[in-house]
Amino acid sequence: MRGDRLAAVLLWGAALLTLGVLLALVGHVLARGLPVVDREFLMARPSSMGRAGGIFPTVVGTVALAALAVAVAAPLGVGTAIYLAEYTRRGRLVEMIRFATDSLAGVPSILFGLFGFLLFVVRLGLGWSVLSGGLTLAVMILPTIIRTAEEAIRAVPESYREVSYALGGTTGQTVVRVVLPSALPGILTGILLGVGRSAGETAAVIFTAGTALRLPRSLLDPARSMSVHFFILAREGISPDNAYGTAAVLVLAITAVNLTAYWLLQRFQARRH
């Protein structure tokens, strides 16, 4: 029983340490960053490379990149999940798709950056642009969306499908009218996680969307995301205050997105049991 006591102390220690690290991390960024953040900071253009002024173009850039990534990855990912869960049983192709999805999930973001640079920026001639960056991010978040969507679709009770088929439903009708509505919270969770990952990503974006501080006005304009902006400000020591401010906005936004995703998933699972 002495072992029990020691183990409990260690486990509690680990848990409190982890919570402490999270709180310290977020607390540090918010404590230093929030005082800088106001409406002006969010809505104003930066001046002298971000030393002064606001971060408006980077907010727009981040939103545009994440929106494009999700707009491309969500249909592909949910489509893949439907195909895997509703249309196929076992098979060579399914095995290969699963293998590719798992492997893609493990590819580090810098390699997505290199790939996006070679394919979109250079080969397809899209240049450093919202389009190149968004497409790169789409490839990156695809596995997350596929996995969560497939899990959510598989969790829909088989009896719902049976009822729909027994009433003369085709597979398509059953998927659209019964399966997807029931799986929607889980699917949205995956999409939100994808939004969060896109917004926080740096390495994949910096080589594909570029670092231009102008306000992007079209998909073919280069864009600097908040995380890239933060990286440049921090690394080049341009303005600690504005760096912290940017980080605070980024952390708050990502926390909000992720907690929403978590809450949705909990509600979804609670309903199932």
């Binding site: 719902y160 729909s164 027994a166 009433l167 009218r177």
Partner: protein, 246 residues
């Protein structure tokens, strides 16, 4: 409408679930498929609307003819509109009462103006209308177990099937609800071809019913309910009715 099952066998993988079944289902003669758990009743019903094929790795031999046409030549959705089904567990879809009943008609492309009348007619036919008339917009999950099962019947009727399959429709209900459903079914069977699977011979005593006793995937004997239940020819049937096998 007549369904003829001819020398029909069905396998799940290597497991033979039905073995050379021969049956005729004619209008006006409700058929009760009687048998202990695992005798193949559910499989037989699911073969009649080809829901059995969803299991993957299945095999079949023999034929099932719907008005002379092999059901394998029919598109499954079209077949299932003609051969409706109610499951053992009342399974409301996560929709309102109204939308549950309207589900099938909508799939079949029934227009909006016809839908209200169709829903009301089906709910009346399932003897549920007076209880849900004022709560059509409520989630169907809020209905009681017996109401949910009548909703499932209304939902199946709403598609206008030529025959209605019911798989142990009262198995999960309290005795009172179960009796209501049984009475409803005998009423329905006046206008509607009905096939009901059950392990319980009691509700099978409708006056016009035929009984087919199924054991280990084989039809042991069949005939008018009054005859089979009162004077079974086969010793297996006798043992089952006396509660000695099951």
């Amino acid at each position: 409408m007549t369904i003829r099952v001819e020398d029909y066998s069905f396998w799940y993988g290597g497991l033979r679930a039905l073995s050379r079944v021969n049956l005729t289902i004619a209008p006006g003669e409700p058929l009760v498929v009687l048998g202990p758990a695992g005798s193949g009743k559910t499989t037989l019903l699911r073969c009649l609307n080809r829901l059995s094929e969803r299991a993957g790795d299945t095999r079949q031999a023999g034929r099932i003819l719907l008005d002379g046409e092999d059901i394998r030549d029919l598109d499954p959705p079209v077949l299932r509109r003609r051969v409706g089904m109610v499951f053992a567990l009342p399974t409301p879809l996560p929709l309102s009462v109204y939308e549950n009943v309207a589900y099938g008609p909508r799939l079949a492309g029934i227009g909006r103006h016809e839908l209200d009348a169709r829903v009301e007619w089906s709910l009346r036919a399932a003897a549920l209308w007076p209880e849900v008339e004022g709560r059509l917009g409520e989630p169907a999950g809020r209905l009681s177990g017996g109401q949910q099962q009548r909703l499932a019947i209304a939902r199946a009727l709403a598609v206008g099937p030529e025959v209605l399959l019911l798989d142990e429709p009262t198995a999960h209900l309290d005795p009172l609800s179960a009796r209501r459903i049984a009475e409803l079914l005998w009423d329905l069977s006046r206008q509607q071809a009905v096939v009901m699977a059950t392990h319980d011979p009691r509700p099978a005593t409708g006056p016009r019913a035929r009984v087919a006793f199924l054991y280990l995937g084989r039809v042991v004997e069949q005939g008018p309910a009054a005859e089979i239940l009162a004077r079974p020819r086969d010793s297996l049937t006798r043992d089952f009715l006396a509660g000695r096998v099951g």
